[in-house]
């Protein structure tokens, strides 16, 4: 260890281990998933030699970070605050570097219909949709509006909250008589519901990582739920869903899927990491569904599977992202 203060010459190995604060928990429906992601990340980072600490996003957080500053923050929060850009805006105010997309880009990606608009404007394919608040149905008549939706988008339909993840509140509706009840249960998650044309095909998760050389897609992860629907139970009960990484799709389709994910990452202004969920139709058309700025990192999550399928170590990848944000050599 040199005592020289001429810092630029030092390599990361000569500095103290990078101190990372991993944020997880939060006050959202996805708290449990987030805690599971955060715990996993702390374990991986510790294994990679970092000094990593798990913290909730609560009233203790900012005073805690002021008292014991971190070199960089990793956000494993899912759901509002962590993903909608709000917490990142506060970290910006506090001058704390963090891994991941900037606040404004998160705000956009968090709003699924808004993100779909941008993605479609960029020339990419995404299923037709309509997103409406409860007040529109109340004012114009729910029957009339739903009738128009079905006539225009057809059946089956996907009904999902306009924001949020972990498949909470997502339903596939095949019979028109089930639609009003689906709207009621979906509006319990938030004030805007997105109804989307259902696309039949292979569902894939497309992880993107940028380690300083531009965004790179990792191998696609194919999702095959036993029940046919990748809902909360299928997602978080090991054994109920088959995952294939890399996906069992032709190379040219995989290449186009990878290109789509990178393009989504770019047009939405995302940084460091993202996970795009997409549907590949039998004729090879790739439909963008949504993008996650804080992808799940639990034991049953797709982002870690993609990292592993690429032959990398999750802890090393996150450590590199943290080092980049901390201003250290990657």
């Amino acid at each position: 260890m040199t005592e020289s203060a001429a810092a630029p010459a030092r390599t990361p190995e000569e500095e103290h281990p990078l101190r990372a604060v991993v944020l997880a928990g939060g006050l959202t429906f996805e708290r449990e998933v987030s805690l599971s992601s955060g715990t996993q990340v702390v374990e991986e980072l510790s294994r990679a030699g970092l000094d990593a600490e798990l913290r909730d996003a609560d009233a203790e957080l900012l005073p805690g970070l002021a008292a014991a500053p971190a070199d960089a923050v990793f956000i494993a929060l899912h759901g509002a605050t962590g993903e909608d850009g709000a917490l990142r805006a506060v970290l910006d105010l506090a001058g704390l570097p963090y891994v991941g997309s900037p606040a404004a880009a998160c705000r956009l990606a968090w709003d699924k219909p808004a993100a779909k608009s941008v993605v479609r404007s960029a020339g990419l394919t995404t299923p037709d949709w309509v997103a409406l608040p409860h007040s529109t149905f109340r004012e114009l008549g729910a029957g009339t509006v739903l009738d128009l939706m079905v006539a225009r988008l057809g059946l089956p339909l996907m009904v999902k909250p306009a924001s949020g993840g972990s498949a909470l509140g997502v339903q596939k509706i095949s019979r028109v008589e089930d639609l009003p009840a689906a709207m009621v249960s979906c509006f319990a998650y938030g004030d805007t519901v997105m109804v989307e044309r259902f696309v039949e095909g292979v569902e894939v998760a497309l992880a993107v990582v940028d380690l300083g050389d531009g965004p790179q897609a990792l191998p696609a992860v194919e999702i095959a739920p036993e029940s046919g629907v990748f809902d909360y139970t299928s997602r978080y009960t090991p054994g109920l869903t088959e995952y294939h990484a890399p996906a069992r799709i032709p190379d040219d389709v995989a290449a186009r899927a990878a290109a789509l994910a990178v393009r989504v990452h770019e047009v939405l202004g995302l940084a460091d990491l993202s996970r795009t969920d997409a549907m590949i139709t039998p004729d090879g058309e790739i439909h963008f569904l949504e993008v996650n700025v804080s992808p799940g990192l639990t034991e049953t999550s797709m982002f870690p599977m993609a990292v592993e399928a690429a032959g990398h170590d999750l802890g090393d990848v996150i450590a590199q992202l943290l080092a980049g944000r901390a201003g250290r050599a990657r």
Binding site: R31, D128, V130, S185, R197, A319
Partner: protein, 481 residues
């Protein structure tokens, strides 16, 4: 130590070119020491049939927020243990280790500590069970283990268990893992309805179903909050005689009444046909995990063998702690202190419900125990409403968990045992707003008649029409960070 190791693999990918042909080819053959099983669980095909209901659920996920202080939890059934004289209990337990470690830190008898079993008989005498002998008592790890033992001893897969509608969720879990079929029996404000019980017995007999026992919580029912009346106790014992029915009486709350002295237990009326489950979780501490089973000698013998196979013996230290507590502390007065505290919280809960809940909501009025059972206005579903409640920072338990048959959507359980009265009032205020918002939503969608919708064109054929109705929320880019 390497603070941020460089990744050789990722950096060598052509920049921005994951679209290149290498994406698949480069990684497909990449060796990995332990490739993931496609289903993430190589043992997925080996699990016993009794585990098939064990799945991740949204309900559990939504509960995780209750650990945050911002949330008022009317969900958990946690006793108010801080009302105990913690210093006295602490030094008592310290003495048990320093003075009697040779016994308290050692294995003990499978049936449980004899001194504790004597004291348990004193406790049961408060509810009219005066003929119990310590030799008929088996100490268990909470009455939950007692229920599991009784179920193991009596129930084969496919057997029928009668249980109140609704029933304690922890009992339903035990019955499910025993692969029993649960037949619910209706209750009302006076507890289990004897006529409904008789109907169920006749029906089961007609179907050739073997009813192994009736499971009932007669006092301050969890979750319903109601208590079986005196005449109905007699009627149920008479039915047990008439139909050769075994009754499992689960009584964790019986001493926590607010208005009257403890009622005479079912077991006090018939020692042959009733197996009694008791617990110190609500009268002393749930963390010690000490409960018991009172059963006729032949049954006791099987229970002891079953418990030895499960846990060898109940924990010695906590058994000694309970026995010493009963020997040296004013435990009867402490139970009165608990009851007074819960009465105040029950009052806060009922008063707030009366003042704030929208019309069409009904609830039970418990005179003891921990729970209010609330029925939502017509058409509302407590599970589907749960995300809205999480947003409003209030938690409750949706009713469906208390039914083995998937019914109970319109019910929820509210626990007043743990939050302070002011928090309870705030929680009920939030809950009332949640119910109102849900009613508003229903008034928008319930009247929709999908039968009048125009002919539906199949989905795929309509693509290409460019149907976009813009996003409802703004998509303005703001400056980057």
């Amino acid at each position: 130590m390497v603070s941020a190791p460089r990744l050789p693999g990722v950096a060598t990918l052509p920049p921005g070119s994951s679209a290149g042909p290498g994406q698949q080819g480069a990684h497909r053959g990449a060796p990995h020491p332990s490739p993931r099983h496609p289903r993430l669980d190589p043992l997925a095909d080996r699990y016993a049939a009794r585990t098939h209901g064990m799945k991740s659920s949204e309900i559990r996920a939504l509960f995780s927020v209750v650990s945050r202080p911002e949330v008022v939890s009317l969900a958990g059934g946690m006793p108010a243990v801080t009302a105990l004289p913690l210093d006295a209990v602490g030094s008592m337990i310290g003495d048990l280790v320093s003075g009697m470690g040779a016994q308290t830190l050692q294995y003990g008898s499978g049936q449980g500590d004899p001194r504790l079993r004597e004291r348990i008989c004193d406790v049961m005498a408060l509810e009219g069970i005066t003929d119990a002998s310590p030799s008929e008592v088996v100490v268990t790890v909470g009455s939950q283990q007692g229920l599991d033992l009784v179920t193991r001893v009596f129930v084969d897969p496919g057997d029928v268990i009668l249980a109140e509608a609704p029933s304690y969720v922890g009992a339903l879990g035990v019955f499910q893992s025993a692969q029993a079929r649960v037949r619910h029996v209706a209750m009302d404000d006076d507890g289990l309805i004897p006529e409904a019980l008789e109907e169920a017995l006749v029906e089961c007999r007609a179907n050739g179903d073997r009813v192994k026992f009736l499971y009932t919580v007669p006092n301050f029912h969890n979750p319903a909050g109601v208590t079986l009346t005196e005449p109905r106790r007699e009627a149920i014992i008479a039915l047990a005689e008439k139909y050769d029915l075994l009754v499992i009486e689960d009584n964790p709350y019986g001493l926590l009444g607010f208005e009257h002295e403890p009622m005479r237990a079912l077991r006090a009326r018939n020692p042959e046909r009733v197996i009694y489950l008791g617990s110190f979780s609500k009268t002393f501490s749930p963390g010690l995990r000490v409960g018991w089973v009172l059963a006729p000698l032949a049954v006791r013998e099987k229970l002891v063998l079953a418990t030895e196979a499960q846990v060898l013996c109940p924990p010695s230290l906590t058994q000694y702690a309970v026995a010493r507590y009963l020997d040296t502390q004013p435990w009867r007065e402490q139970i009165k202190t608990f009851a007074e505290l819960y009465r105040e919280r029950r009052d806060a809960c009922l008063e707030s419900l009366s003042a704030l809940m929208p019309a069409g909501t009904t609830w039970t009025r418990p005179d003891g125990g921990f729970y209010v059972w609330l029925k939502l206005p017509h058409g509302l579903d407590a599970k589907l409403m749960q995300p809205r409640a999480v947003n409003a920072l209030v938690a409750y338990v949706p009713g469906i968990g208390f039914y083995a048959d998937g019914s109970g959507q319109e019910y929820m359980r509210l626990s007043y045992c743990y939050p302070e009265p002011d928090q309870i009032r705030e929680g009920v205020r939030r809950l009332a707003r949640v119910v109102e918002a849900e009613l508003d939503l229903h008034s928008t969608f319930d009247a929709v008649d999908t039968g009048t919708f125009r002919a539906v064109r199949p989905g795929p054929e309509t693509t290409g029409s460019g149907t976009i109705v813009g996003p409802a929320t703004s998509n303005v880019y703001e400056g980057g960070r």
